[in-house]
């Protein structure tokens, strides 16, 4: 026991050494620290492992109870839909996709920030990511699980959904590779698999730490299994870092590809309001936008409930606010550009659709989207706002709402008024679809809470790497 605990600092030397080479040579001395309260290496491990070992607080249990209830309710409604038929939803002839696909795109979008934070920011050596990347990746995986549920449920015969996979069968039938939905199946599944492996790889050393530190024998066994016999030897660290780097490299293009492919569902169609070349970048920006907002929501809650103020500092939140501001303006640009092109193209149907978005039956959805996604984030121009927790929390919620409405606007509003006025209609959801959407939130939050309790939710090894005393020239600076 003691031997292994003693081993940790040595490993850390390796890590910090590796990190030290990797990071830019001249650190500005006045840059504010990423970890507050200047804890020792051991304190860090202790503090994070304590979350796992420590007693479950009433606050935690209460939250879990609520989310679990929502999750179960959502699952019940799902079952009801499967048994009765998809007609229990509000969908109708012009609008055959409504909340189901809106939610799907919404959740996929949420997932993106996770990969962005863990992969891209890692490749760019953004050290501030270390505190949040673990939970961000977790978020990705759980979000994609919700997305997959929605996309499965939106089929009229979910029990035949396996037909969407290419496999040899007695019908001698192949899937239609021209269909964007098939691309989706591949894209999303790849994304899910890679994210999962990436996440797990990052977890291996921390499972080892947990294995070493937890008292409970059962927990020890489990962590022992998942730590894959990690000893922390230099060889392990080298292989680990290499693997981590490779996964980061694989996931990076996925951040762009997945949501681009999702946007093809709409961009390759003939429906005005869907048939738009701007969609891929527009969707990716939107995804990162909403993803960061969700990360922010979760972390603000997490640092309150689990008391991680020292690791998830205002600086992290500040940086995220900046990204939200930037991506928010990107989607804003996309909205205006869509509108401009619709007008400029002089295409009757195109313009009719967009005019209808601004003024039609669903105008409220459009303006909700604009005010939440474009107007309100402007507040982040002010540093003070980027550092006031309540403001950031409310903003992050706003953005999530706004982004949900963006997808709703694109899907429902384009469908309910398309080419032939004779087939125009209006769509409003039933309690079933609403319940299922709420249910996905339940599933998502439940999984996240469980993750926070049973998995080291902050990358111990990495965070040690960015601690002041992990820097080689730390002592010189200190006096």
């Amino acid at each position: 026991m003691s031997a292994t605990t003693a081993a940790i600092p040595d490993d850390m030397q390796n890590v910090s050494g590796y990190m030290a080479e990797a990071m830019s040579p001249n650190e500005e001395p006045f840059r504010e620290p990423l970890i507050l309260g200047n804890p020792s290496m051991h304190d860090v491990s202790r503090k994070i492992i304590d979350i796992i070992e420590g007693k479950v607080t009433g606050k935690y249990l209460a939250t879990l109870a609520v989310t679990a209830t929502l999750a179960i309710w959502g699952i019940i409604c799902t079952g009801y839909t499967i048994v009765t038929g998809i007609g229990v939803w509000g969908l109708n002839n012009p609008v055959a996709w409504g909340w189901d696909i809106t939610d799907f795109v919404f959740w996929i979008g949420i997932g993106h920030a996770g990969t962005l934070i863990s992969a891209i920011l890692f490749l760019f050596r953004q050290k501030w990511r270390t505190a949040i990347n673990r939970s961000a990746e977790a978020m990705t995986i759980f979000a994609v699980i919700c997305a997959l549920l929605m996309v499965l449920m939106h089929t009229g015969r979910p029990w035949f959904a396996y037909w969407l996979f290419p496999y040899p069968n007695q019908m001698l039938m192949w899937i239609n590779f021209r269909s964007p939905l098939v691309w989706d199946v591949f894209a999303v599944n790849t994304y899910f698999t890679v994210s999962l492996l990436f996440w797990f790889t990052g977890l291996v050393p921390d499972f080892a730490t947990a294995r070493n530190m937890v008292k409970n024998s059962v927990a020890k066994k489990i962590y022992h299994f998942f730590s894959l016999g990690w000893t922390g030897s230099t060889r392990h660290w080298h292989i680990y870092e290499l693997a981590y780097l490779i996964f980061a490299a694989i996931s990076t293009p996925l951040v762009l590809s997945v949501h681009s492919v999702v946007s093809f569902d709409f961009a390759t169609s003939v429906i005005p309001g869907w048939h738009t070349t701007i969609f891929p970048p527009y969707f990716v920006a939107g995804a990162i936008f909403s993803g960061f907002a969700m990360v922010m929501t979760l972390l603000i809650i997490a640092r309150e409930i689990l008391n991680l103020k020292d690791f998830i500092t205002l600086k992290h939140l500040d940086n995220m606010s900046k990204i939200i501001l930037a991506t928010g303006m990107m989607v804003g640009y996309a909205y205006s550009m869509e509108l401009f092109i619709a007008w400029y193209s002089k295409n009757t149907y195109e313009w009719a659709t967009f005019y209808n978005r601004l003024t039609g039956d669903y105008a409220w959805a459009y303006w909700t989207m604009v005010s939440c996604n474009v107007i309100s984030p402007q507040i982040f121009w002010f540093k003070k706002m980027r550092r006031t927790i309540p403001v950031m929390f409310i903003m992050s919620i706003f953005v999530n709402i706004g982004m949900w409405f963006e997808r709703f606007t694109i899907i429902a509003t384009s469908l309910h008024h398309d080419y032939l006025p004779s087939s125009w209609g209006y769509y409003s959801p039933t309690w079933v679809e609403i319940s299922i959407f709420i249910g996905t939130f339940g599933i998502f939050l439940t999984l996240f809470l469980l993750f926070a309790k049973f998995v080291p939710m902050i990358a111990i090894a990495e965070i040690k790497g960015v601690m002041p005393n992990a820097q080689p020239h730390h002592h010189e600076e200190s006096h």
Partner: protein, 246 residues
């Protein structure tokens, strides 16, 4: 990267996982799809009727009654119906009219209550299989039903799956059995006359062409069997969905 122990552990788990998934998929797929699993289905019929006896070869005690004698309308209709009781009674009003095995048949005939036969070959309702199309292409009954005249109790010979259909539609020359005398299709001679011409001359095995589906299949001049024109050679079958699903 791992310790030996874990390595082994992982490998073992992986192998078992793969096996489990493989078997699960196999059973799941072929087991749960009834229509795939019906090969060899051989229910007992209410009346102990033997095709071997009625349609079997005369050399070993069969009566060599042509299929078409009972299964009429197979040339013209989508269905090849089970004959009405009256068809049985055509002969059995005299032949073996005391036999206890035929009690059910006689009752049916007298009380006008139909015999409920067990169905052997069953396609899903969304498949529009048409017997007459295949018969008129000189495709023998046995191509799908096997040598029924050698069966006591009829059993399902072919899988009757979509893949099985398509195999034949794509390369008929590998699967089709040309019309045989016993089936009695398109020899143009009434069933009654078969007794007199037991060994009526039949066309040489048909040269099965594989023209592209569309129009050409029926443009080949008809072949003549003992003075009676038969339908065209079987070409490739259609492969588009609405040929069978509508």
């Amino acid at each position: 990267m791992f310790t030996q122990a874990t390595d082994r552990k992982i490998k073992r788990i992986a192998v078992w996982l793969i096996i489990a998934i493989g078997v699960g998929f196999h059973i799941g797929y072929f087991g749960l799809h009834n229509r795939v699993t019906d090969v060899g289905y051989r229910p007992q019929q209410p009346v102990p009727f033997s095709h071997k006896l009625h349609a079997g070869d005369t050399t070993n005690g069969g009566l060599a009654i042509k299929c078409m004698y009972c299964h009429t309308s197979v040339e013209v209709s989508a269905h090849s119906p089970v004959p009405p009781t009256s068809t049985c009674m055509n002969c059995h009003i005299i032949v073996k009219n005391e036999s206890p095995r035929l009690l059910l048949v006689r009752n049916s005939y007298e009380n006008n209550t139909p015999i409920e036969w067990q169905r052997v070959h069953k396609l899903p309702d969304y498949v529009n299989f048409n017997h007459s199309r295949h018969i008129r292409a000189m495709i023998d009954c046995s191509s799908c039903h096997g040598k029924v005249e050698e069966m006591g109790v009829v059993s399902q010979e072919s899988m009757l799956t979509m893949g099985w259909c398509l195999d034949c539609h794509r390369n008929p020359e590998q699967h089709i059995v040309p019309a045989r005398p016993i089936s009695g299709i398109f020899t143009g001679i009434k069933a009654a006359d078969y007794a007199s011409n037991a060994n009526i001359e039949i066309a040489p095995p048909i040269s099965i062409t594989s023209p592209e589906f569309g129009s050409t299949a029926t443009d080949i001049p008809p072949q003549v069997i003992s003075g009676i024109p038969t339908p065209k050679h079987p070409g490739k079958g259609p492969e588009n969905c609405s040929a069978c699903h509508y």
